[in-house]
Symmetry: C2
Subunit: 317 residues, 2 copies
Protein backbone atom coordinates (compact mmCIF):
# COMPACT_ATOMS: atom_id res chain seq x y z
CA UNK A 1 0.00 0.00 0.00
CA UNK A 2 1.53 3.28 -1.14
CA UNK A 3 0.45 6.23 1.00
CA UNK A 4 0.41 9.50 -0.95
CA UNK A 5 2.53 12.33 0.43
CA UNK A 6 2.37 16.11 0.57
CA UNK A 7 4.64 16.21 -2.49
CA UNK A 8 2.21 13.97 -4.38
CA UNK A 9 -0.60 16.40 -3.58
CA UNK A 10 1.46 19.43 -4.60
CA UNK A 11 2.46 17.72 -7.85
CA UNK A 12 -1.19 16.80 -8.43
CA UNK A 13 -2.22 20.45 -8.13
CA UNK A 14 0.34 21.57 -10.70
CA UNK A 15 -0.74 18.73 -13.00
CA UNK A 16 -4.50 19.33 -12.85
CA UNK A 17 -4.65 23.15 -12.58
CA UNK A 18 -5.17 23.67 -16.34
CA UNK A 19 -8.04 21.17 -16.37
CA UNK A 20 -10.10 22.01 -13.27
CA UNK A 21 -11.69 25.15 -11.81
CA UNK A 22 -10.41 26.94 -8.75
CA UNK A 23 -13.89 26.96 -7.24
CA UNK A 24 -15.14 29.95 -5.24
CA UNK A 25 -16.07 30.17 -1.56
CA UNK A 26 -19.68 31.15 -0.78
CA UNK A 27 -20.78 32.68 2.52
CA UNK A 28 -24.15 33.71 3.95
CA UNK A 29 -24.76 36.18 6.78
CA UNK A 30 -28.02 34.34 7.39
CA UNK A 31 -26.33 30.95 7.87
CA UNK A 32 -23.69 32.51 10.11
CA UNK A 33 -26.42 33.92 12.33
CA UNK A 34 -28.29 30.63 12.30
CA UNK A 35 -25.26 28.63 13.45
CA UNK A 36 -23.33 31.24 15.45
CA UNK A 37 -20.27 30.17 13.43
CA UNK A 38 -18.45 31.59 10.42
CA UNK A 39 -19.11 29.17 7.59
CA UNK A 40 -17.12 29.06 4.34
CA UNK A 41 -18.56 26.83 1.62
CA UNK A 42 -16.10 25.57 -0.99
CA UNK A 43 -18.24 25.07 -4.11
CA UNK A 44 -16.97 21.94 -5.85
CA UNK A 45 -20.43 21.63 -7.40
CA UNK A 46 -19.13 24.40 -9.72
CA UNK A 47 -16.55 22.10 -11.34
CA UNK A 48 -17.53 21.63 -15.01
CA UNK A 49 -18.68 18.02 -14.49
CA UNK A 50 -20.22 19.04 -11.17
CA UNK A 51 -18.10 17.30 -8.53
CA UNK A 52 -14.75 17.37 -6.71
CA UNK A 53 -14.03 13.95 -8.20
CA UNK A 54 -12.72 15.66 -11.32
CA UNK A 55 -9.61 16.47 -9.24
CA UNK A 56 -8.58 12.89 -8.48
CA UNK A 57 -9.71 11.67 -11.89
CA UNK A 58 -7.67 14.36 -13.69
CA UNK A 59 -4.63 13.58 -11.60
CA UNK A 60 -4.80 9.92 -12.57
CA UNK A 61 -5.52 10.61 -16.26
CA UNK A 62 -2.89 13.30 -16.79
CA UNK A 63 -0.30 11.35 -14.82
CA UNK A 64 -0.34 8.36 -17.21
CA UNK A 65 2.69 7.84 -19.46
CA UNK A 66 2.08 7.97 -23.21
CA UNK A 67 2.02 4.20 -23.64
CA UNK A 68 -0.57 3.60 -20.94
CA UNK A 69 -2.54 6.65 -22.03
CA UNK A 70 -3.20 5.01 -25.42
CA UNK A 71 -5.02 2.20 -23.65
CA UNK A 72 -6.92 4.66 -21.52
CA UNK A 73 -8.55 4.21 -18.13
CA UNK A 74 -11.28 2.03 -16.69
CA UNK A 75 -13.43 2.08 -13.59
CA UNK A 76 -16.65 0.85 -12.05
CA UNK A 77 -18.96 3.48 -10.59
CA UNK A 78 -22.53 4.55 -10.97
CA UNK A 79 -21.91 8.05 -9.71
CA UNK A 80 -19.79 11.18 -10.07
CA UNK A 81 -16.50 9.28 -10.40
CA UNK A 82 -17.70 7.69 -13.65
CA UNK A 83 -18.61 11.00 -15.25
CA UNK A 84 -15.56 12.84 -13.90
CA UNK A 85 -13.17 10.14 -15.14
CA UNK A 86 -14.87 10.21 -18.56
CA UNK A 87 -14.59 14.01 -18.57
CA UNK A 88 -10.86 13.95 -17.73
CA UNK A 89 -10.21 11.23 -20.34
CA UNK A 90 -12.08 13.32 -22.93
CA UNK A 91 -9.87 16.31 -22.12
CA UNK A 92 -6.77 14.19 -22.73
CA UNK A 93 -8.34 12.45 -25.70
CA UNK A 94 -7.95 8.88 -24.40
CA UNK A 95 -10.44 6.01 -23.97
CA UNK A 96 -12.47 5.59 -20.78
CA UNK A 97 -14.35 2.38 -20.04
CA UNK A 98 -16.92 2.34 -17.27
CA UNK A 99 -18.75 -0.65 -15.82
CA UNK A 100 -22.16 0.41 -14.50
CA UNK A 101 -25.11 -1.60 -13.20
CA UNK A 102 -27.85 -1.70 -15.84
CA UNK A 103 -30.17 -0.30 -13.14
CA UNK A 104 -28.18 2.97 -12.81
CA UNK A 105 -30.22 6.10 -13.55
CA UNK A 106 -30.45 6.98 -17.25
CA UNK A 107 -29.22 10.52 -16.52
CA UNK A 108 -25.94 9.17 -15.11
CA UNK A 109 -25.42 6.98 -18.16
CA UNK A 110 -26.20 9.91 -20.45
CA UNK A 111 -23.58 12.09 -18.72
CA UNK A 112 -20.85 9.44 -19.03
CA UNK A 113 -21.67 9.04 -22.74
CA UNK A 114 -21.78 12.81 -23.30
CA UNK A 115 -18.16 12.90 -22.12
CA UNK A 116 -17.25 10.03 -24.44
CA UNK A 117 -17.10 7.29 -21.80
CA UNK A 118 -17.93 3.77 -23.00
CA UNK A 119 -20.35 1.94 -20.71
CA UNK A 120 -20.45 -1.81 -20.21
CA UNK A 121 -23.47 -2.82 -18.19
CA UNK A 122 -23.44 -5.41 -15.43
CA UNK A 123 -26.04 -6.84 -13.08
CA UNK A 124 -26.49 -4.87 -9.85
CA UNK A 125 -24.41 -7.27 -7.75
CA UNK A 126 -20.79 -7.22 -6.58
CA UNK A 127 -19.96 -10.52 -8.28
CA UNK A 128 -21.33 -9.42 -11.65
CA UNK A 129 -19.58 -6.07 -11.40
CA UNK A 130 -16.21 -7.65 -10.58
CA UNK A 131 -16.54 -10.26 -13.29
CA UNK A 132 -17.59 -7.72 -15.92
CA UNK A 133 -14.90 -5.28 -14.90
CA UNK A 134 -12.15 -7.92 -15.06
CA UNK A 135 -13.29 -8.77 -18.60
CA UNK A 136 -13.37 -5.12 -19.73
CA UNK A 137 -9.97 -4.42 -18.27
CA UNK A 138 -8.46 -7.55 -19.87
CA UNK A 139 -9.88 -6.55 -23.25
CA UNK A 140 -8.93 -2.87 -23.18
CA UNK A 141 -5.84 -2.77 -20.98
CA UNK A 142 -7.31 0.36 -19.41
CA UNK A 143 -5.62 1.54 -16.23
CA UNK A 144 -7.92 0.95 -13.25
CA UNK A 145 -8.71 4.20 -11.44
CA UNK A 146 -10.55 3.27 -8.26
CA UNK A 147 -13.15 5.85 -7.15
CA UNK A 148 -11.27 6.52 -3.89
CA UNK A 149 -8.84 3.82 -2.77
CA UNK A 150 -6.06 5.02 -5.08
CA UNK A 151 -3.12 7.24 -4.04
CA UNK A 152 -3.43 9.34 -7.23
CA UNK A 153 -7.09 9.96 -6.53
CA UNK A 154 -6.50 10.90 -2.89
CA UNK A 155 -3.65 13.24 -3.82
CA UNK A 156 -5.98 14.89 -6.37
CA UNK A 157 -8.83 15.33 -3.89
CA UNK A 158 -6.36 16.92 -1.46
CA UNK A 159 -5.96 19.89 -3.82
CA UNK A 160 -9.44 21.06 -2.82
CA UNK A 161 -8.53 21.83 0.80
CA UNK A 162 -5.23 23.31 -0.39
CA UNK A 163 -7.21 25.91 -2.33
CA UNK A 164 -9.61 26.34 0.58
CA UNK A 165 -6.86 27.31 3.04
CA UNK A 166 -5.40 29.65 0.41
CA UNK A 167 -8.82 31.30 0.13
CA UNK A 168 -9.74 31.38 3.86
CA UNK A 169 -7.38 32.06 6.76
CA UNK A 170 -7.41 30.45 10.18
CA UNK A 171 -9.99 27.71 9.83
CA UNK A 172 -10.78 25.99 13.13
CA UNK A 173 -12.59 23.15 11.38
CA UNK A 174 -12.90 21.55 7.97
CA UNK A 175 -16.04 19.48 7.49
CA UNK A 176 -16.63 17.17 4.53
CA UNK A 177 -18.97 14.27 3.83
CA UNK A 178 -17.62 10.73 4.09
CA UNK A 179 -18.55 7.75 1.93
CA UNK A 180 -15.56 5.71 0.78
CA UNK A 181 -13.35 8.41 2.25
CA UNK A 182 -11.58 9.83 -0.81
CA UNK A 183 -12.32 13.49 -0.12
CA UNK A 184 -11.75 13.14 3.62
CA UNK A 185 -8.42 11.35 3.00
CA UNK A 186 -7.26 14.08 0.63
CA UNK A 187 -8.31 16.67 3.21
CA UNK A 188 -6.34 14.82 5.89
CA UNK A 189 -3.29 14.59 3.64
CA UNK A 190 -3.31 18.34 2.97
CA UNK A 191 -4.37 19.78 6.31
CA UNK A 192 -2.25 17.50 8.52
CA UNK A 193 0.75 18.92 6.65
CA UNK A 194 -0.25 22.50 5.86
CA UNK A 195 -2.76 23.42 8.57
CA UNK A 196 -2.37 20.95 11.43
CA UNK A 197 -4.33 23.25 13.77
CA UNK A 198 -7.48 22.78 11.66
CA UNK A 199 -9.62 19.93 12.99
CA UNK A 200 -11.11 17.59 10.41
CA UNK A 201 -14.68 16.41 10.94
CA UNK A 202 -16.25 13.79 8.69
CA UNK A 203 -20.02 14.01 8.24
CA UNK A 204 -21.99 10.86 7.52
CA UNK A 205 -25.63 9.86 7.04
CA UNK A 206 -27.00 7.99 10.07
CA UNK A 207 -28.47 5.45 7.67
CA UNK A 208 -25.03 4.61 6.19
CA UNK A 209 -22.85 5.12 9.26
CA UNK A 210 -20.22 2.48 8.61
CA UNK A 211 -17.37 5.01 8.84
CA UNK A 212 -18.71 6.27 12.18
CA UNK A 213 -18.88 2.75 13.54
CA UNK A 214 -15.47 1.86 12.09
CA UNK A 215 -13.97 4.99 13.68
CA UNK A 216 -15.38 4.11 17.10
CA UNK A 217 -14.42 0.42 16.82
CA UNK A 218 -10.90 1.04 15.53
CA UNK A 219 -11.24 -1.18 12.43
CA UNK A 220 -13.18 -1.15 9.17
CA UNK A 221 -16.82 -2.21 9.44
CA UNK A 222 -18.82 -2.41 6.20
CA UNK A 223 -22.56 -1.78 5.97
CA UNK A 224 -24.86 -4.29 4.39
CA UNK A 225 -26.82 -2.46 1.66
CA UNK A 226 -27.27 0.92 3.35
CA UNK A 227 -30.07 3.19 2.11
CA UNK A 228 -30.02 6.99 2.44
CA UNK A 229 -31.01 10.06 0.46
CA UNK A 230 -27.27 10.89 0.42
CA UNK A 231 -26.65 8.37 -2.34
CA UNK A 232 -23.07 9.47 -2.97
CA UNK A 233 -22.02 8.12 0.43
CA UNK A 234 -23.02 4.46 0.31
CA UNK A 235 -19.61 2.83 -0.23
CA UNK A 236 -17.33 1.49 2.54
CA UNK A 237 -13.85 2.59 3.65
CA UNK A 238 -10.86 0.71 2.19
CA UNK A 239 -7.32 0.25 3.51
CA UNK A 240 -5.89 3.51 2.13
CA UNK A 241 -8.75 5.75 3.20
CA UNK A 242 -8.92 3.97 6.57
CA UNK A 243 -5.27 4.94 7.08
CA UNK A 244 -6.11 8.65 6.79
CA UNK A 245 -9.41 8.49 8.65
CA UNK A 246 -8.00 6.58 11.60
CA UNK A 247 -4.90 8.80 11.88
CA UNK A 248 -6.13 12.31 11.13
CA UNK A 249 -9.89 12.71 11.54
CA UNK A 250 -10.90 14.39 14.81
CA UNK A 251 -14.42 13.02 14.88
CA UNK A 252 -17.25 11.69 12.74
CA UNK A 253 -20.72 13.23 13.17
CA UNK A 254 -23.91 11.79 11.73
CA UNK A 255 -27.29 13.20 10.67
CA UNK A 256 -30.61 11.62 9.79
CA UNK A 257 -32.14 11.78 6.32
CA UNK A 258 -34.78 14.37 7.34
CA UNK A 259 -32.00 16.52 8.83
CA UNK A 260 -29.96 16.17 5.61
CA UNK A 261 -32.93 17.18 3.46
CA UNK A 262 -33.64 20.21 5.66
CA UNK A 263 -30.00 21.33 5.48
CA UNK A 264 -30.03 20.87 1.70
CA UNK A 265 -33.07 23.10 1.34
CA UNK A 266 -31.50 25.75 3.60
CA UNK A 267 -28.40 25.80 1.38
CA UNK A 268 -30.43 26.06 -1.83
CA UNK A 269 -32.50 28.89 -0.35
CA UNK A 270 -29.79 30.96 1.31
CA UNK A 271 -26.60 30.17 -0.63
CA UNK A 272 -28.63 29.86 -3.84
CA UNK A 273 -26.59 26.97 -5.18
CA UNK A 274 -27.72 23.63 -6.59
CA UNK A 275 -26.03 20.77 -4.74
CA UNK A 276 -26.57 17.12 -3.87
CA UNK A 277 -28.02 15.61 -0.71
CA UNK A 278 -24.57 14.15 0.10
CA UNK A 279 -23.14 17.69 0.22
CA UNK A 280 -25.71 18.75 2.79
CA UNK A 281 -24.56 16.29 5.44
CA UNK A 282 -21.87 18.65 6.83
CA UNK A 283 -24.35 21.50 7.47
CA UNK A 284 -26.85 19.01 8.92
CA UNK A 285 -24.26 17.88 11.47
CA UNK A 286 -23.23 21.48 12.25
CA UNK A 287 -26.86 22.44 12.93
CA UNK A 288 -27.07 19.38 15.21
CA UNK A 289 -23.89 20.17 17.17
CA UNK A 290 -24.05 23.94 17.62
CA UNK A 291 -21.81 24.05 20.70
CA UNK A 292 -18.90 22.48 18.84
CA UNK A 293 -18.92 25.09 16.10
CA UNK A 294 -20.13 28.28 17.84
CA UNK A 295 -17.69 31.15 17.33
CA UNK A 296 -15.48 29.01 15.08
CA UNK A 297 -14.34 29.40 11.50
CA UNK A 298 -15.55 26.38 9.58
CA UNK A 299 -14.68 25.33 6.03
CA UNK A 300 -17.29 23.09 4.42
CA UNK A 301 -16.79 21.21 1.18
CA UNK A 302 -19.81 21.20 -1.11
CA UNK A 303 -18.80 18.04 -2.90
CA UNK A 304 -21.17 17.90 -5.86
CA UNK A 305 -24.13 19.38 -7.71
CA UNK A 306 -25.53 16.61 -9.89
CA UNK A 307 -29.11 16.17 -8.81
CA UNK A 308 -32.33 15.23 -10.56
CA UNK A 309 -34.26 18.53 -10.72
CA UNK A 310 -37.48 16.61 -11.32
CA UNK A 311 -37.16 14.68 -8.04
CA UNK A 312 -36.21 17.04 -5.24
CA UNK A 313 -36.22 15.26 -1.89
CA UNK A 314 -38.42 17.85 -0.14
CA UNK A 315 -41.15 17.45 -2.77
CA UNK A 316 -43.36 14.40 -3.04
CA UNK A 317 -43.00 13.97 -6.77
CA UNK B 1 -36.05 64.85 -14.49
CA UNK B 2 -32.45 64.38 -13.35
CA UNK B 3 -30.52 61.91 -15.47
CA UNK B 4 -27.77 60.14 -13.51
CA UNK B 5 -24.24 60.47 -14.88
CA UNK B 6 -21.12 58.33 -15.01
CA UNK B 7 -19.84 60.20 -11.95
CA UNK B 8 -23.03 59.33 -10.07
CA UNK B 9 -22.45 55.66 -10.87
CA UNK B 10 -18.79 55.80 -9.84
CA UNK B 11 -19.73 57.55 -6.59
CA UNK B 12 -22.44 54.95 -6.02
CA UNK B 13 -19.89 52.15 -6.30
CA UNK B 14 -17.59 53.74 -3.73
CA UNK B 15 -20.57 54.30 -1.43
CA UNK B 16 -22.05 50.81 -1.60
CA UNK B 17 -18.89 48.69 -1.86
CA UNK B 18 -18.72 47.96 1.88
CA UNK B 19 -22.36 46.84 1.91
CA UNK B 20 -22.71 44.65 -1.17
CA UNK B 21 -20.91 41.65 -2.64
CA UNK B 22 -18.68 41.77 -5.69
CA UNK B 23 -20.49 38.80 -7.18
CA UNK B 24 -18.61 36.17 -9.19
CA UNK B 25 -18.90 35.27 -12.87
CA UNK B 26 -19.97 31.70 -13.67
CA UNK B 27 -19.25 29.94 -16.95
CA UNK B 28 -20.13 26.55 -18.40
CA UNK B 29 -18.36 24.73 -21.23
CA UNK B 30 -21.63 22.92 -21.85
CA UNK B 31 -23.62 26.14 -22.34
CA UNK B 32 -20.89 27.57 -24.56
CA UNK B 33 -21.14 24.49 -26.78
CA UNK B 34 -24.92 24.65 -26.77
CA UNK B 35 -25.01 28.28 -27.92
CA UNK B 36 -21.77 28.54 -29.89
CA UNK B 37 -21.06 31.70 -27.89
CA UNK B 38 -18.90 32.50 -24.86
CA UNK B 39 -21.31 33.20 -22.03
CA UNK B 40 -20.37 34.95 -18.77
CA UNK B 41 -23.03 34.91 -16.08
CA UNK B 42 -22.81 37.67 -13.44
CA UNK B 43 -24.39 36.11 -10.34
CA UNK B 44 -26.38 38.84 -8.59
CA UNK B 45 -28.47 36.06 -7.05
CA UNK B 46 -25.44 35.71 -4.74
CA UNK B 47 -26.04 39.11 -3.11
CA UNK B 48 -26.96 38.53 0.55
CA UNK B 49 -30.64 39.46 0.01
CA UNK B 50 -30.57 37.59 -3.30
CA UNK B 51 -30.93 40.31 -5.94
CA UNK B 52 -29.10 43.12 -7.75
CA UNK B 53 -31.63 45.55 -6.28
CA UNK B 54 -29.50 45.77 -3.15
CA UNK B 55 -27.16 47.97 -5.22
CA UNK B 56 -29.65 50.74 -5.99
CA UNK B 57 -31.30 50.42 -2.59
CA UNK B 58 -27.95 50.74 -0.77
CA UNK B 59 -26.98 53.73 -2.87
CA UNK B 60 -30.21 55.51 -1.90
CA UNK B 61 -30.02 54.54 1.78
CA UNK B 62 -26.35 55.35 2.34
CA UNK B 63 -26.62 58.59 0.36
CA UNK B 64 -29.19 60.13 2.74
CA UNK B 65 -28.04 62.97 4.99
CA UNK B 66 -28.27 62.39 8.76
CA UNK B 67 -31.51 64.31 9.17
CA UNK B 68 -33.38 62.43 6.45
CA UNK B 69 -31.84 59.16 7.55
CA UNK B 70 -33.58 59.47 10.93
CA UNK B 71 -36.93 59.40 9.15
CA UNK B 72 -35.83 56.51 7.02
CA UNK B 73 -37.03 55.35 3.63
CA UNK B 74 -40.33 54.19 2.17
CA UNK B 75 -41.43 52.33 -0.93
CA UNK B 76 -44.15 50.26 -2.49
CA UNK B 77 -43.15 46.89 -3.93
CA UNK B 78 -44.10 43.29 -3.55
CA UNK B 79 -40.81 41.97 -4.81
CA UNK B 80 -37.04 42.11 -4.42
CA UNK B 81 -36.91 45.91 -4.10
CA UNK B 82 -38.90 45.74 -0.86
CA UNK B 83 -36.57 43.21 0.75
CA UNK B 84 -33.40 44.83 -0.59
CA UNK B 85 -34.44 48.29 0.65
CA UNK B 86 -35.29 46.80 4.06
CA UNK B 87 -31.92 45.05 4.09
CA UNK B 88 -30.00 48.26 3.25
CA UNK B 89 -31.97 50.24 5.85
CA UNK B 90 -31.20 47.54 8.44
CA UNK B 91 -27.48 47.85 7.66
CA UNK B 92 -27.64 51.59 8.26
CA UNK B 93 -29.98 51.19 11.23
CA UNK B 94 -32.79 53.39 9.91
CA UNK B 95 -36.54 52.80 9.46
CA UNK B 96 -37.95 51.29 6.28
CA UNK B 97 -41.68 51.40 5.52
CA UNK B 98 -43.05 49.23 2.75
CA UNK B 99 -46.55 49.26 1.29
CA UNK B 100 -47.44 45.80 -0.03
CA UNK B 101 -50.70 44.35 -1.33
CA UNK B 102 -52.26 42.09 1.30
CA UNK B 103 -52.27 39.38 -1.38
CA UNK B 104 -48.45 39.36 -1.70
CA UNK B 105 -46.85 35.95 -0.97
CA UNK B 106 -46.25 35.31 2.74
CA UNK B 107 -42.59 34.47 2.02
CA UNK B 108 -42.00 37.96 0.59
CA UNK B 109 -43.59 39.57 3.65
CA UNK B 110 -41.53 37.37 5.96
CA UNK B 111 -38.29 38.42 4.23
CA UNK B 112 -39.09 42.14 4.53
CA UNK B 113 -39.87 41.67 8.24
CA UNK B 114 -36.74 39.59 8.81
CA UNK B 115 -34.76 42.61 7.64
CA UNK B 116 -36.71 44.92 9.95
CA UNK B 117 -38.95 46.46 7.30
CA UNK B 118 -42.39 47.62 8.47
CA UNK B 119 -45.21 46.52 6.18
CA UNK B 120 -48.46 48.42 5.66
CA UNK B 121 -50.88 46.39 3.62
CA UNK B 122 -53.07 47.79 0.87
CA UNK B 123 -55.65 46.32 -1.48
CA UNK B 124 -54.21 44.89 -4.70
CA UNK B 125 -55.14 47.95 -6.81
CA UNK B 126 -53.18 50.98 -7.98
CA UNK B 127 -55.56 53.43 -6.29
CA UNK B 128 -55.37 51.69 -2.91
CA UNK B 129 -51.58 51.40 -3.16
CA UNK B 130 -51.14 55.12 -3.97
CA UNK B 131 -53.54 56.22 -1.25
CA UNK B 132 -51.94 53.97 1.36
CA UNK B 133 -48.43 54.96 0.35
CA UNK B 134 -49.25 58.70 0.53
CA UNK B 135 -50.57 58.18 4.05
CA UNK B 136 -47.52 56.17 5.19
CA UNK B 137 -45.14 58.71 3.73
CA UNK B 138 -46.98 61.63 5.33
CA UNK B 139 -46.90 59.93 8.72
CA UNK B 140 -43.28 58.77 8.66
CA UNK B 141 -41.55 61.35 6.46
CA UNK B 142 -39.66 58.45 4.89
CA UNK B 143 -37.76 59.25 1.71
CA UNK B 144 -39.46 57.62 -1.28
CA UNK B 145 -37.13 55.22 -3.06
CA UNK B 146 -38.87 54.14 -6.26
CA UNK B 147 -38.05 50.57 -7.36
CA UNK B 148 -36.48 51.81 -10.61
CA UNK B 149 -37.47 55.30 -11.74
CA UNK B 150 -35.00 57.02 -9.42
CA UNK B 151 -31.56 58.34 -10.44
CA UNK B 152 -29.96 56.97 -7.25
CA UNK B 153 -31.36 53.53 -7.96
CA UNK B 154 -30.24 53.54 -11.60
CA UNK B 155 -26.74 54.74 -10.64
CA UNK B 156 -26.58 51.90 -8.10
CA UNK B 157 -27.70 49.23 -10.57
CA UNK B 158 -25.04 50.50 -12.98
CA UNK B 159 -22.32 49.27 -10.63
CA UNK B 160 -23.16 45.68 -11.63
CA UNK B 161 -22.00 46.06 -15.24
CA UNK B 162 -19.00 48.10 -14.05
CA UNK B 163 -17.87 45.02 -12.10
CA UNK B 164 -18.74 42.76 -15.02
CA UNK B 165 -16.46 44.59 -17.47
CA UNK B 166 -13.71 44.60 -14.84
CA UNK B 167 -14.12 40.82 -14.56
CA UNK B 168 -14.52 40.00 -18.27
CA UNK B 169 -12.68 41.65 -21.18
CA UNK B 170 -14.04 42.47 -24.59
CA UNK B 171 -17.74 41.73 -24.27
CA UNK B 172 -19.60 41.97 -27.58
CA UNK B 173 -22.99 41.91 -25.84
CA UNK B 174 -24.52 42.51 -22.43
CA UNK B 175 -27.94 40.92 -21.95
CA UNK B 176 -30.21 41.64 -19.00
CA UNK B 177 -33.92 41.18 -18.31
CA UNK B 178 -36.21 44.19 -18.59
CA UNK B 179 -39.25 44.98 -16.44
CA UNK B 180 -39.40 48.59 -15.28
CA UNK B 181 -35.95 49.05 -16.74
CA UNK B 182 -33.82 49.80 -13.67
CA UNK B 183 -31.09 47.23 -14.36
CA UNK B 184 -31.07 47.91 -18.11
CA UNK B 185 -30.84 51.68 -17.48
CA UNK B 186 -27.93 51.23 -15.10
CA UNK B 187 -26.27 48.96 -17.66
CA UNK B 188 -26.79 51.62 -20.36
CA UNK B 189 -25.38 54.33 -18.09
CA UNK B 190 -22.22 52.33 -17.42
CA UNK B 191 -21.53 50.68 -20.75
CA UNK B 192 -22.35 53.67 -22.97
CA UNK B 193 -19.58 55.48 -21.09
CA UNK B 194 -17.06 52.75 -20.28
CA UNK B 195 -17.58 50.12 -23.00
CA UNK B 196 -19.48 51.76 -25.88
CA UNK B 197 -18.54 48.90 -28.21
CA UNK B 198 -20.61 46.46 -26.10
CA UNK B 199 -24.15 46.15 -27.46
CA UNK B 200 -26.93 46.10 -24.89
CA UNK B 201 -29.81 43.69 -25.42
CA UNK B 202 -32.87 43.75 -23.17
CA UNK B 203 -34.67 40.43 -22.71
CA UNK B 204 -38.39 40.42 -22.01
CA UNK B 205 -41.16 37.84 -21.55
CA UNK B 206 -43.47 37.68 -24.59
CA UNK B 207 -46.41 37.76 -22.21
CA UNK B 208 -45.32 41.12 -20.73
CA UNK B 209 -43.73 42.70 -23.80
CA UNK B 210 -44.59 46.35 -23.14
CA UNK B 211 -40.92 47.42 -23.35
CA UNK B 212 -40.55 45.63 -26.69
CA UNK B 213 -43.64 47.34 -28.07
CA UNK B 214 -42.58 50.70 -26.62
CA UNK B 215 -39.14 50.34 -28.18
CA UNK B 216 -40.61 49.58 -31.62
CA UNK B 217 -43.25 52.35 -31.33
CA UNK B 218 -40.87 55.02 -30.03
CA UNK B 219 -42.95 55.91 -26.96
CA UNK B 220 -43.97 54.23 -23.69
CA UNK B 221 -46.78 51.70 -23.96
CA UNK B 222 -48.01 50.11 -20.73
CA UNK B 223 -49.44 46.60 -20.50
CA UNK B 224 -52.80 45.97 -18.93
CA UNK B 225 -52.28 43.33 -16.21
CA UNK B 226 -49.62 41.16 -17.90
CA UNK B 227 -49.18 37.60 -16.64
CA UNK B 228 -45.93 35.63 -16.97
CA UNK B 229 -43.85 33.18 -14.98
CA UNK B 230 -41.17 35.91 -14.92
CA UNK B 231 -43.00 37.77 -12.17
CA UNK B 232 -40.20 40.25 -11.52
CA UNK B 233 -40.77 41.83 -14.94
CA UNK B 234 -44.42 42.93 -14.83
CA UNK B 235 -43.99 46.67 -14.29
CA UNK B 236 -43.91 49.33 -17.05
CA UNK B 237 -41.14 51.69 -18.15
CA UNK B 238 -41.16 55.23 -16.70
CA UNK B 239 -39.69 58.48 -18.03
CA UNK B 240 -36.18 57.98 -16.64
CA UNK B 241 -35.78 54.35 -17.69
CA UNK B 242 -37.37 55.15 -21.08
CA UNK B 243 -34.63 57.74 -21.57
CA UNK B 244 -31.93 55.06 -21.27
CA UNK B 245 -33.79 52.33 -23.13
CA UNK B 246 -34.66 54.56 -26.11
CA UNK B 247 -31.14 56.01 -26.34
CA UNK B 248 -28.80 53.13 -25.59
CA UNK B 249 -30.45 49.72 -26.00
CA UNK B 250 -29.53 47.98 -29.28
CA UNK B 251 -32.55 45.72 -29.35
CA UNK B 252 -35.17 44.00 -27.23
CA UNK B 253 -35.68 40.27 -27.66
CA UNK B 254 -38.60 38.30 -26.24
CA UNK B 255 -39.18 34.69 -25.17
CA UNK B 256 -42.28 32.70 -24.30
CA UNK B 257 -42.98 31.31 -20.85
CA UNK B 258 -42.16 27.71 -21.85
CA UNK B 259 -38.85 28.94 -23.34
CA UNK B 260 -38.09 30.85 -20.12
CA UNK B 261 -38.82 27.80 -17.97
CA UNK B 262 -36.61 25.60 -20.15
CA UNK B 263 -33.73 28.12 -19.95
CA UNK B 264 -34.15 28.31 -16.18
CA UNK B 265 -33.87 24.56 -15.82
CA UNK B 266 -30.78 24.49 -18.07
CA UNK B 267 -29.10 27.11 -15.84
CA UNK B 268 -29.96 25.25 -12.64
CA UNK B 269 -28.65 21.99 -14.11
CA UNK B 270 -25.45 23.21 -15.77
CA UNK B 271 -24.44 26.34 -13.83
CA UNK B 272 -25.78 24.77 -10.62
CA UNK B 273 -27.15 28.03 -9.27
CA UNK B 274 -30.60 28.82 -7.88
CA UNK B 275 -32.15 31.76 -9.74
CA UNK B 276 -35.54 33.23 -10.62
CA UNK B 277 -37.58 32.79 -13.79
CA UNK B 278 -36.99 36.50 -14.59
CA UNK B 279 -33.23 35.86 -14.69
CA UNK B 280 -33.67 33.09 -17.29
CA UNK B 281 -35.15 35.39 -19.94
CA UNK B 282 -31.72 36.42 -21.30
CA UNK B 283 -30.60 32.81 -21.94
CA UNK B 284 -34.02 32.00 -23.40
CA UNK B 285 -33.62 34.81 -25.96
CA UNK B 286 -30.02 33.77 -26.72
CA UNK B 287 -31.12 30.18 -27.42
CA UNK B 288 -33.82 31.62 -29.70
CA UNK B 289 -31.47 33.90 -31.67
CA UNK B 290 -28.35 31.76 -32.11
CA UNK B 291 -27.06 33.62 -35.18
CA UNK B 292 -26.87 36.92 -33.32
CA UNK B 293 -24.67 35.53 -30.57
CA UNK B 294 -22.61 32.81 -32.31
CA UNK B 295 -18.89 33.37 -31.78
CA UNK B 296 -19.53 36.37 -29.53
CA UNK B 297 -18.59 37.12 -25.93
CA UNK B 298 -21.80 37.70 -24.02
CA UNK B 299 -22.26 39.01 -20.47
CA UNK B 300 -25.54 37.95 -18.87
CA UNK B 301 -26.87 39.38 -15.64
CA UNK B 302 -28.49 36.80 -13.36
CA UNK B 303 -30.66 39.34 -11.56
CA UNK B 304 -32.01 37.40 -8.60
CA UNK B 305 -32.35 34.12 -6.77
CA UNK B 306 -35.43 34.38 -4.59
CA UNK B 307 -37.68 31.56 -5.66
CA UNK B 308 -40.20 29.34 -3.92
CA UNK B 309 -38.42 25.97 -3.77
CA UNK B 310 -41.74 24.23 -3.18
CA UNK B 311 -43.20 25.52 -6.45
CA UNK B 312 -40.70 25.10 -9.26
CA UNK B 313 -42.20 26.03 -12.61
CA UNK B 314 -41.16 22.79 -14.36
CA UNK B 315 -42.96 20.70 -11.75
CA UNK B 316 -46.72 20.44 -11.48
CA UNK B 317 -46.91 21.01 -7.76
Amino acid sequence: MYIPTLDDMLAAHERIKPHIRRTPIRTSDYLNELTGAELFFKCENFQEPGAFKVRGASNAVFGLDEEQAKKGVATHSSGNHASCLSYAAMLRGIPCNVVMPRTAPQAKKDTVRRYGGKITECEPSTSSREETFAKVQAETGGDFVHPYNDPRVIAGQGTCSKEMIEQVDGLDFAVAPIGGGGMISGTCLTLSNLAPETKIIAAEPEQADDAYRSFKAGHIIADDAPKTIADGLLVPLKDLTWHFVSNHVSDIYTASDPEIIEAMKIIWKHLRIVMEPSSAVPLATILKNPDTFKGKRVGIIITGGNVDLDKLPWLNT
